[in-house]
C-alpha cells in the first residue's frame, strides 16, 4: 500500500538556518500520525511542506505516491486546521465552512446543506449564521475542523489545534478528535509539542529535535523503548542513567532509561538500592519523590501513596525489564 | 457705519467695525512725528523689493537706514486677498488696485490721507492726483503708486504685422499663419474681464450705447456675456497667474492673449517671439494706490513711506521691474534700469486709451443708475467659464 504522505530526504532551510534536515518518513493511509517535538524542532515546517505552504529546499514530498514537492496548496488533496484557526472574519460560520465548496463552484444551496451537515458533525448545529468573532475558542476550533473536512480530503493536517484551549476542553477535544478520525476514516497528521497529547491520540508518533527525526514508532515504543536520549528525556518522566551510575544501579554499559513509575519505593527491602528522600511533590494523581542514591545521582520515583517524609531513608527496586538500554547513536 | 458692514458677517466683524469707525471719525492726521520703528505693508509680489532677487532692485534698504522704520511686507496675489488682509487688520499700508480701493474706502478700512504731509504729492502725474479710484467726495484715500495696461500680447512668428483689434481673441477666425485661432488664444479668468468684452463691443457695436466698460445696463451686459460665451469656445485655458501664462506661451502653443507688459518683458528676455500692442478699441488697465489702514499702528512711518514711495528713483526702478508706468513723469528719464523708452513701452502714451479697473456698482452715472453690480459679474463669469 502506498503511503498517504512520504518524505524522501527532505530538507528545508531559511537562509542559514536549517529547519528540517534530511527527513524521511512515511505516513500510512488512515492512521493518526503525530509530529512531536519542542518548538523550533521542525515539526511545523514539515506539516507546512505537506500542506504546500512551504517548499522543501531539497528532497521529495509524495502524497499518495504522486510527487507533490512543489505543488501549490490548492492542488493538493490535503486540508489544514490552522493553529489560530484562520477563520475568515468577514464571513458567517456557514460561509466559512462552505468556502472550500464555493471555490469549487458548488451551488449555494448544495454547499449550505453540506456545511450544515459538517457543523452537525462537529456538534455545532444552528451556528451557521453567526460570525466567527461571536464564538468561543472551542467552537471556533470545531468550525475550523468542519471547514477543513468539507472537501473530504484524504489527509487532514492539524497544526497544534488544541494549543489555545484550556486543559479541560483540550482533554475532551482530544477524545473527540480521535473519535472523529475513526468516524471519517481519513489520515490525520497532527502537530503538537505536548507529549501527553501525542501519546494518547496517535497511532504512531514521530519525534523531532533540531530538524531531525529522532524516532518513529507507536506510543508504546516511543515511551517504553526510546531510541535516543532526547526521546527518553522528552517523552514521559524518566531517569536517564549513564556511566558509573548506570553500571552500579543496572549493571548495564552505556545509557539506560528507567521510568519513574516503574520504581518501587519501600522502607527496607533486602538487595534494593538505598537512598534518602530529598524532595516530595504532590501531583494529585500521584506523588513524586526525588531520592538521592549516592554518587551524586538522584532518581525520580512516581508512586500512588504518600508514605515517606523528607529525609526518610528508603530503598528502591525495579523489575529487570524496566531498564531500557538506549542504543548508542550519535550523541 | 452702514457701509462698514459690507463684506463681513458675525460678531468679530462688528467689533472690528467699531474699532474702525472710531479711527475713521478722527479725520486725517495733521502732522508727522518721529517714526515708530516699523511699518507693515500688504503689497503685490515684486512691489516692495529689497534686493533679495536682484541686487539692482532695492528701494527698501535706503529708506530703513534714513528713517529707522523697518519695512515688513506681506505679499498678496489677488485684490481679494488684499481686502481680506486689510479686514483682518494689523497692517499700516496696502498697494490696492482700482478694483479693491473703492471697496476698502466704502468698508471704512482705510483712512483719509492728508496730502500736505506728503510733500511730493504735487509732483504726481496730474491725471492721477484726483483719480476716482482713490478720491471719494473730494477726500484723498491714498497716494498713487504705479499703473499699467492689459495689452494684447501676440506671437511675432504668427503675426508678421501687429493685430490691430481684440477680434483675434473674441471672434473665430484664421490667423495670418492660416490656422484657426481656436485653442491658441487666451483670456483673463477674473470677472473683471467682462469689461474687456464690453470695451470691444463699444467699438464693434456702438448701437448698444456702452459709454464705460465698468458701467453696463442689462442689455449691454447680456451682449458682453454672449460675446464671452462665444469666446469660451476659442479659449482652451484662461490665465490668472502671470507665470502660468508665460509657461502657456512657451510650452502650450498659445499665440495671442490679453496680458500685462510684465509677461511680455520676461518672454522677450528669454528670446521668445512675442510683442505687445494696444488695439484700436483701447485697453483696460490697472492703477495702484498706496492706502493707509484706518487703524494703522505706525502712522508716522507710514507717512514717511508714502513720501518715499513716489520718489523718482523708486518709481523708475519699480516700473522697470514690474513692467509698469511711474506716477511721476520725471522718473521716465535717466533711469538706468527702465531706459528712456521704458515708459512708452509700458503704456505711458496710451493713457487716454486706458479704462482703469473699477469695481462695478449698481448706482452708475452713464446708464442712469441701472448698472449690473459686481457680484453678478462674478456669478455669470463663473457660468461662462463653465460653458453656460
Amino acid at each position: 500500500m502506498t503511503a498517504a504522505v512520504a518524505f524522501e530526504e527532505v530538507s528545508c532551510a531559511f537562509g542559514q538556518f536549517v529547519a528540517v534536515d534530511r527527513v524521511s518518513l512515511e505516513v500510512r493511509e488512515g492512521e493518526f500520525f503525530t509530529l512531536l517535538g519542542p518548538s523550533g524542532s521542525g515539526k511545523t515546517t514539515c506539516l507546512r511542506m505537506i500542506g504546500g505552504f512551504q517548499f522543501p529546499t531539497r528532497g521529495r514530498v509524495r502524497i499518495h505516491g504522486a510527487d507533490a514537492t512543489r505543488l501549490p496548496p490548492y492542488a493538493r488533496d490535503v486540508n489544514t486546521v490552522f493553529q489560530d484557526y484562520a477563520l475568515f472574519p468577514h464571513m458567517s460560520v456557514r460561509d466559512n465552512v462552505a468556502y472550500g465548496l464555493m471555490v469549487r463552484g458548488v451551488a449555494r444551496e448544495e454547499r449550505y446543506r453540506r456545511a450544515d451537515e459538517m457543523l452537525e458533525l462537529v456538534h455545532l448545529p444552528g451556528t451557521g449564521a453567526r460570525r466567527p468573532a461571536e464564538l468561543s475558542g472551542g467552537q471556533r476550533q470545531r468550525v475550523a475542523l468542519a471547514r477543513a473536512l468539507i472537501n473530504r480530503p484524504r489527509v487532514l493536517l492539524l497544526d497544534e489545534p488544541l494549543g489555545a484551549l484550556d486543559l479541560k476542553l483540550r482533554e475532551s477535544m482530544q477524545v473527540e478528535l480521535k473519535a472523529l478520525q475513526r468516524q471519517v476514516g481519513i489520515t490525520f497528521v497532527f502537530v503538537t509539542h505536548d507529549q501527553q497529547e501525542a501519546l494518547s491520540m496517535s497511532d504512531r508518533v514521530c519525534v523531532f529535535d533540531r530538524g531531525r527525526v529522532e524516532q518513529i514508532g507507536t506510543p508504546e515504543e516511543i515511551y517504553d523503548r526510546p531510541a535516543t536520549r532526547f526521546v527518553a528525556g522528552f517523552v514521559g518522566s524518566g531517569n536517564l542513567l549513564e556511566g558509573a551510575a548506570a553500571r552500579r544501579l543496572t549493571g548495564a554499559q552505556g545509557a539506560v532509561m528507567l521510568r519513574a513509575e516503574r520504581i518501587r519505593i519501600e522502607a527496607r527491602r533486602p538487595g534494593a538500592v538505598p537512598g534518602v528522600v530529598k524532595e516530595v511533590e504532590y501531583l494529585g494523581a500521584f506523588i513524586r519523590y526525588i531520592v538521592d542514591v549516592g554518587d551524586r545521582t538522584e532518581l525520580l520515583v512516581n508512586t500512588a501513596r504518600r508514605d515517606f517524609a523528607l529525609g526518610a531513608e528508603v530503598t528502591l527496586s525495579w523489575p529487570e525489564e524496566a531498564c531500557h538500554r538506549i542504543p548508542q547513536g550519535p550523541a | 457705519m452702514k457701509n462698514s458692514h459690507r463684506t463681513l458677517g458675525g460678531a468679530l466683524a462688528l467689533a472690528a467695525a467699531f474699532a474702525v469707525t472710531a479711527a475713521y471719525a478722527a479725520g486725517p492726521r495733521q502732522s508727522v512725528g518721529k517714526g515708530e520703528g516699523r511699518v507693515d505693508i500688504v503689497a503685490w509680489p515684486g512691489y516692495i523689493e529689497r534686493g533679495a532677487t536682484d541686487k539692482n532692485f532695492d528701494w527698501v534698504t535706503g529708506f530703513e537706514k534714513s528713517t529707522g522704520c523697518k519695512v515688513q511686507v506681506k505679499t498678496a496675489n489677488t485684490s481679494d486677498e488684499m481686502v481680506a488682509l486689510m479686514n483682518e487688520g494689523g497692517f499700516d499700508l496696502v498697494t490696492a488696485s482700482g478694483d479693491a480701493s473703492l471697496r476698502l474706502v466704502a468698508g471704512g478700512r482705510v483712512q483719509e490721507i492728508n496730502t500736505k504731509l506728503v510733500p511730493s504729492y504735487g509732483k504726481v502725474d496730474k491725471r492721477l492726483q484726483n483719480a476716482p479710484w482713490h478720491t471719494v467726495g473730494g477726500k484723498h484715500y491714498g497716494v498713487p503708486y504705479q499703473w499699467g495696461y492689459n495689452v494684447l500680447m501676440y506671437n511675432t512668428n504668427v503675426f508678421k504685422q501687429a493685430p490691430d483689434s481684440w477680434a483675434v481673441v473674441f471672434e473665430e477666425m484664421n490667423l495670418p499663419d492660416g490656422k484657426p485661432n481656436k485653442g491658441r488664444v487666451q483670456a483673463f479668468d477674473g470677472p473683471i474681464y467682462i469689461a474687456d468684452a464690453a470695451l470691444y463691443l463699444m467699438t464693434k457695436n456702438p448701437a448698444l450705447g456702452i459709454k464705460d466698460p465698468y458701467e453696463l445696463n442689462e442689455d449691454q451686459y447680456k451682449a458682453a456675456l454672449a460675446l464671452l460665451r462665444q469666446q469660451r469656445k476659442l479659449v482652451a485655458r484662461y490665465w490668472h497667474d502671470a507665470f502660468v501664462q508665460i509657461d502657456d506661451f512657451t510650452n502650450e502653443g498659445f499665440v495671442a492673449s490679453s496680458a500685462w507688459q510684465f509677461q511680455a518683458n520676461i518672454l522677450k528676455s528669454k528670446n521668445r517671439p512675442v510683442a505687445t500692442v494696444v488695439p484700436k478699441e483701447g485697453v483696460t488697465g490697472w492703477a495702484d494706490t498706496t492706502m493707509m489702514h484706518a487703524g494703522a499702528k505706525h502712522p508716522n512711518c507710514a507717512y514717511k513711506w508714502l513720501e518715499h514711495s513716489i520718489n523718482p528713483k523708486l518709481q523708475g526702478d519699480l516700473a522697470a521691474w514690474f513692467g509698469a508706468v511711474p506716477v511721476r513723469l520725471e522718473a521716465c528719464k535717466g533711469n538706468k534700469l527702465l531706459g528712456d523708452d521704458g515708459c512708452a513701452r509700458h503704456g505711458l502714451n496710451s493713457f487716454d486709451k486706458i479704462h482703469f479697473w473699477r469695481t462695478p456698482v449698481a448706482n452708475c452715472k452713464t446708464q442712469g443708475g441701472k448698472c449690473v453690480p459686481y457680484y453678478r459679474w462674478v456669478s455669470d463669469y463663473i457660468a461662462v467659464l463653465g460653458g453656460r
Binding site: 501549490p72 489544514t80 484562520a86 468556502y99 471555490v103 | 481686502v83 482652451a236 485655458r237 502650450e252
Partner: protein, 304 residues
C-alpha cells in the same frame, strides 16, 4: 504650598469627573467655539441675502442662496466637482492598491522603509511646486507628449485628447490632466490606509484560502479584497474630500472650468457675496456627510 498641592490633588482624586472636566475643557472649548462656532456662522450666513442694488449683505432670512445654487451654472460646478472627486477616488484606489499590496505583502525591512519614504516624500515638498511641475510634464511641449511621440503613439494621445469632456489641446489643458494631477497629489492618502488594512490580514487566512482550493485570483477576490475594503474606504474619504475642497489644481491644470473651491473663493473674495459662498460651502459638507454615512455602513471605521 505642598500641603495645598496635596489637598488639591486629594480633592481632584476624589472627584474624577472634575479632574476630567479640567483636562478636557480647553480642547473642548476650542472645538466648540472655534470649530462649531465658525460652522454655525457659515450656516447662518447662507441664509442671509445680498441687496440687489448695492451689493450689501442683508441680515434677513432668505432661501434665495439655495435657489441660486440650483441654477444651471452652479449645478454644473457641483456636478463637475463631485464627478471629479469620484473619478479621482476610483483612480487613486486603482493605482494605490497594487502599490499598497506590494508594500504590505512582498516587502520587509529596508525595502519597505524605502517604499514608505517614496510614498511620503512628495508630502514633504511644496504642493504648489509639484502642481507646477506637472503642468510642465503635461504641456504640449512637455515630457509626456514627447514620450508619446517617441513611441510613435502620438495618434493615441491625440485620440484621447479628442474625446469631448475630458480632452483639450494638450494634457495640461484638459480635464484628463486635472484628473491625473489630482490622482498623483492625493495618492499617498490612499496608499497608506490600504497598506495598513492589508498588513492586518493574517498570512494564515491567505494560506487557509489556498488550502481550501482557492487559486490566487479567488483568494484575492474572496479574502484579501473584502478585508482591505475598510482601508480603501478610509482612503477614499481622504481623496474624495480633498478633491471636493481643492481650488489650486484646477486653477493651474485643466480647461479653466471652475470647481467648488474656486467658486467659493470667488464668491467670498472677489464678489463679496459671503451668503452665496456660505451656501456653496454647505454643498461639500453635505456631500461628505452622506458619503461618511454610507462609508460607516460599509464598515470603514471598524478598522480605524
Amino acid at each position: 504650598m505642598s500641603a495645598l498641592a496635596r489637598s488639591l490633588s486629594t480633592t481632584l482624586y476624589g472627584r474624577r469627573g472634575l479632574a476630567l472636566a479640567l483636562l478636557l475643557a480647553p480642547p473642548l472649548l476650542w472645538l466648540g467655539i472655534v470649530y462649531c462656532g465658525s460652522l454655525l456662522a457659515l450656516l447662518a450666513n447662507s441664509f442671509y441675502g445680498l441687496d440687489e442694488f448695492s451689493g450689501v449683505i442683508k441680515r434677513e432670512f432668505t432661501l434665495k442662496n439655495f435657489v441660486e445654487l440650483a441654477a444651471p451654472a452652479n449645478r454644473d460646478v457641483i456636478a463637475r466637482t463631485v464627478g471629479m472627486a469620484a473619478a479621482v477616488t476610483v483612480g487613486c484606489a486603482l493605482v494605490a492598491f497594487p502599490i499598497a499590496y506590494l508594500m504590505a505583502r512582498y516587502t520587509r525591512g529596508w525595502v519597505r522603509a524605502a517604499l514608505y519614504l517614496g510614498v511620503m516624500l512628495p508630502l514633504w515638498s511644496s504642493y504648489l511646486v509639484r502642481v507646477y511641475a506637472w503642468k510642465l510634464l503635461l504641456a504640449r511641449e512637455g515630457v509626456v507628449n514627447w514620450m508619446f511621440a517617441e513611441a510613435g503613439l502620438s495618434w493615441l494621445l491625440q485620440g484621447i485628447l479628442a474625446v469631448p469632456g475630458i480632452g483639450g489641446p494638450s494634457l495640461s489643458i484638459s480635464s484628463l490632466g486635472t484628473f491625473i494631477v489630482f490622482v498623483y497629489i492625493w495618492l499617498p492618502f490612499m496608499i497608506l490606509p490600504i497598506q495598513a488594512a492589508l498588513e492586518r490580514v493574517p498570512q494564515s487566512l491567505i494560506e487557509a484560502s489556498a488550502d481550501l482550493g482557492a487559486h490566487d485570483a479567488a483568494t484575492f477576490r474572496k479574502v484579501i479584497l473584502p478585508l482591505a475594503l475598510p482601508g480603501v474606504i478610509a482612503g477614499s474619504i481622504f481623496t474624495f474630500s480633498l478633491t471636493l475642497g481643492d481650488y489650486i489644481i484646477p486653477g493651474i491644470i485643466g480647461d479653466s472650468s471652475l470647481y467648488l473651491g474656486q467658486v467659493v473663493y470667488l464668491q467670498q473674495g472677489t464678489a463679496g457675496n459671503v451668503p452665496l459662498a456660505a451656501a456653496f460651502t454647505l454643498v461639500p459638507i453635505t456631500v461628505m456627510a452622506v458619503y461618511l454615512a454610507v462609508a460607516k455602513r460599509m464598515g470603514a471605521f471598524d478598522a480605524l
